[in-house]
Symmetry: D2
């Protein structure tokens, strides 16, 4: 059995990890840690959760685990990762700390020097379907952001194929409220969110932008620009990204569809929808799936890509990565 420890277990992502790992046939939860709630049980925090005791992160027995999942704020995650790796534990980090390869880019977007720049080169970017080959045995996995997961899985088959794209690519993304975390704020107050819908940090302002740009640049020498417009949906969970890619010349929808079939045929967690269908949150919530729809209009391909932000966009993909790192069946605990 894989022994897992969860740091930051009292956020929405941590809770989802607990649920997934408890039904995982090859993994056990060794401990759940929380800085703010140590001494309570998880059920004290979430009434429907199991009554696992919450310990302080500093007291966590790192020698009792094979893998540490970090559901911590950025910077704190890198510090815990450093300690855990030194103790010989593998780390799957759900924060942003190891997603960006370049410490200067990190410092720019997170207004903070990177706490462990020496680890950046080693981290594997855990977009499982794309970087699967690098995962087995990895010591440090940077679990992708929720928005990037929805956008990048939709773009990858296209971008790696090298079709000439008229800049820029537009990703108009809509996310449920759990994406903003569990700490109460004015913008997550029920009365502000219900019956409302709003855009925020549009254009080139959201921290998930450089993460997407980095992946795109890896896939494509002359990377097209990306415009990213997040919106806040009045739902608890789920992301739908509607993505517009305009080509420089005419393309056939069947040829585009072939690229997606080639990329995702046989993938257990990515569904390319039949012609004429578009993605919806209802396809994917409470699952580790990504559903992708393709609609060609003139020279513009409209991609609709849906995930559950807490599962494929966080805890589920983290478990998927753990499965690959440790050589389990990739779908274990996820179906």
């Amino acid at each position: 059995m894989i022994k897992a420890g969860i740091f930051g277990a009292t956020g929405y992502t941590g809770l989802e990890l607990v649920k997934l790992l408890r039904r995982h046939p090859a993994a056990d939860i060794a401990f759940v840690a929380s800085q703010s709630q140590a001494g309570k049980t998880l059920r004290d925090v979430f009434p429907a959760a199991p009554a696992l005791p919450l310990i302080a992160g500093a007291d966590a027995p790192l020698d009792a685990i094979d893998v540490a999942f970090l559901c911590l704020p950025h910077a704190a995650a890198a510090e815990t990762a450093t300690v855990a790796l030194a103790a010989g534990t593998r780390v799957i980090d759900l924060s942003a700390d190891f997603r960006l390869r370049d410490a200067a880019t990190y410092a720019h977007w997170y207004a903070h020097d990177h706490p462990a720049p020496h680890l950046l080169a080693e981290a594997v970017y855990g977009l499982t379907e794309v970087y699967r080959a690098e995962l087995p045995g990895a010591r440090l996995v940077a679990n992708p952001g929720c928005y990037p997961t929805s956008v990048l899985l939709a773009l990858w088959p296209l971008l790696r194929a090298g079709l000439p794209i008229a800049e820029p690519i537009i990703a108009d993304s809509k996310s449920g409220v759990s994406g903003a975390g569990r700490t109460p704020t004015q913008t997550s107050h029920f009365v502000e969110v219900a019956d409302n819908f709003s855009a925020y940090k549009i254009g080139r302002a959201h921290r998930h932008l450089p993460e997407m740009e980095q992946a795109i640049a890896q896939w494509r020498a002359a990377a097209p620009a990306l415009i990213f417009s997040p919106h806040l949906l009045p739902v608890p969970r789920g992301i739908l990204s509607t993505i517009y890619v305009t080509f420089e010349k005419d393309v056939a929808e069947a040829d585009l569809r072939d690229l997606y079939t080639a990329a995702y045929d046989g993938e257990p967690f990515v569904s390319v929808l039949p012609r004429g269908q578009t993605a919806a949150l209802a396809h994917v919530t409470h699952t580790n799936r990504c559903a992708i729809g393709l609609t060609l209009t003139g020279r513009t391909l409209i991609l609709t890509s849906a995930i559950d932000n807490l599962i494929k966009g966080a805890a589920g993909q983290a478990v998927q990565n753990m499965n690959v790192v440790f050589g389990c069946d990739e779908t274990a605990g996820l179906e």
Copy 2:
């Protein structure tokens, strides 16, 4: 024109008051005050609100107004009321500070000595339909709580009639989230509220209980006991109370209905629903109305009573009270 000042204008109740008074034909807003947001405009706080400048409560020109509306926390309200009354301004207090007649009861429920006990005797309890005769010219009006408004308007015709009631009366009330105020808390987080429904402070634990008991005791010598069970609804606004009154002997639904018709016939803001209909939030949200349904089952009368907690349960009833205090048409600004 009646000159009005609003203290605590940046909560949901304050905002609703601003909306109502701006379209009131006989009232003007002289200022809006906020302790925490002074220096900003109301639009900085609520993007759809008018850009009125927010001043500090301490800087409010009391001599420029005829009436002060207090949308302040308890205790703070009593202190501002004292100053405002001393300056010759009438006060309509939307906090709990002047609802309970007895300073000891207040101290018990609010865990705080009453800041102005000498004013308690003077305050008129502003359940307009019941205490209308006491309002003209009143200096100090205690605007009722939202739950009590929905429960008491439903019970008044019955209780004043003196039918023998088997104890206890049960009020099972369900409220939208704005009733808990605008300060972000874990319990008002969208993800905690959406898709959820919960009971809280049931039995004899909620601060609105003594307010209801006080009114019942005024209407009825041997007052039946009251059980009050609040619940949190995943909607922004509205209260529906389902109230069970069991009589000691057989009664006729027609006779009960006559009591309600006698009490509310001609009332502009209370609708007794036709036989067979029960109240719903959709009857009343965004209005100053209270809709009351009557269903007799055996010896138990089931009352359903719906209001908008921010309007008839707060700002609307406050304006209704202002209209009566100043001798305006009672419906001015409310239709």
Copy 3:
């Protein structure tokens, strides 16, 4: 493996059954049938469902299954049950057809002669925790209604104990919209439900009333009257019943709590909440659990009882019953 057939698979309950049985370690789905959608696949109806072919009920191979789950309208269910039983298949009926023991009561409430009155005596009422002993080997199980499950599990420990109750018992129940089925109606239109909350069929008007009365009468010689007030919550799923039981004399909360511990200690799917806690939908949605809270106020016990109407209130309890009927682990497929 238990071979199961699902009739009426394209409603919400049918879909939930498909989900549960597909992950059941000891059961397989042999077919899914639908009168209106035969020829399509389940995914054509629910985009996130598996692509199982939908056959017409009349074409269903009854000899290929061990158990038929009926998610059919009343009357249609009894007719299919008759055929299936004649073919030697066990039947778990999720409709109301075999819940009431008395054909005349059925005819009164359902405005329809019972299609198979000779089977009524044989049907086991599948409130699993209460009637577990009668289930092993049963040919015909009447799966309880969703409201009755939430109310009866809360009342059973109390009623069987014989404490003197002052009539009537009041069950103020609130249900999510899936309880009303998937057929579009004006009352299930999103715009009518969202931001709304309403009572309906209160008092003694809802068809689930006689089902509850029948159970109560079995548990208690002189059965107290029951008042049942259903309400429609703006959530997709979940029922919370707030139940008021007033005793004729003083009781101690600890003694009441002992009754519940005695009844449910060790039960995998019923949780008696700790003192001071009340039930919420968030305790139970997407699970087969029933959470019950106890609050004593004077002589009145306030019970809060929460279930997921589609799982413990329908498909989950049906699987739980199947497990007991066939001698599997009772929790198989349900955790």
Copy 4:
């Protein structure tokens, strides 16, 4: 007083018109008509509405009114318009029947020959801010569609200015459920909509596309192509369109902002948001306002445009048009 008749009063748009006209200082409702509900009152259909008697459209006294508002299905609207105009009544049509100037385009998109092609040339397209000069005294006004109102008000200042635009313009629009009407369908069922979000008829498939293209072609000789992607939001009302316009060369945000200020300065119902702000439904629901935000990213202008689909997108703009047609204050009844 302007005497108004409302045809099709029992839909969401009709109800909203009734509310607006009842508080209009210069208009009276002469009758409300409904084909399906004649003989009932409006309150029978909407419990919170006034108890106006519903008459059959064929019985409507056209000589008693100055203006007929048509909230009818397409084709039916054109037929009623023909009769009403012949009777000397002005017509404000909220259906799609007179929005498209070309009968062949209408026949293509609505799969139906136009019932009154001779009236097409006369109809004024009632996008009030743009076509105000043509409205006074008009006999027939084609009230714009809800999506087109949100998109066109955002594009007009830009397109009439003639800046070189790289094709195509992308309008990613999100609408509340009332936009789909009040007739119950599977897609408007609460359980299908709540917690969900989906794209539909994206690309060039929605009937509002030709309406937008027609306007764009009027404003701009070489019209850029338009891609239109509607989405269904789990809210009752409101539209937010996020619109991407990419220029062929560099532009300055200040210059773009000047175009909007020039277009809308002094407009009572269009607000250009300050720099850095984006539009949200909360800016506009329950009002006749359109809020427009501008964000320049590289050479791409991201417009966010929010309206209430039932008010500025339907009934409110219809009243605004009536005000201009009859020479009233344009804001009468709308603030």
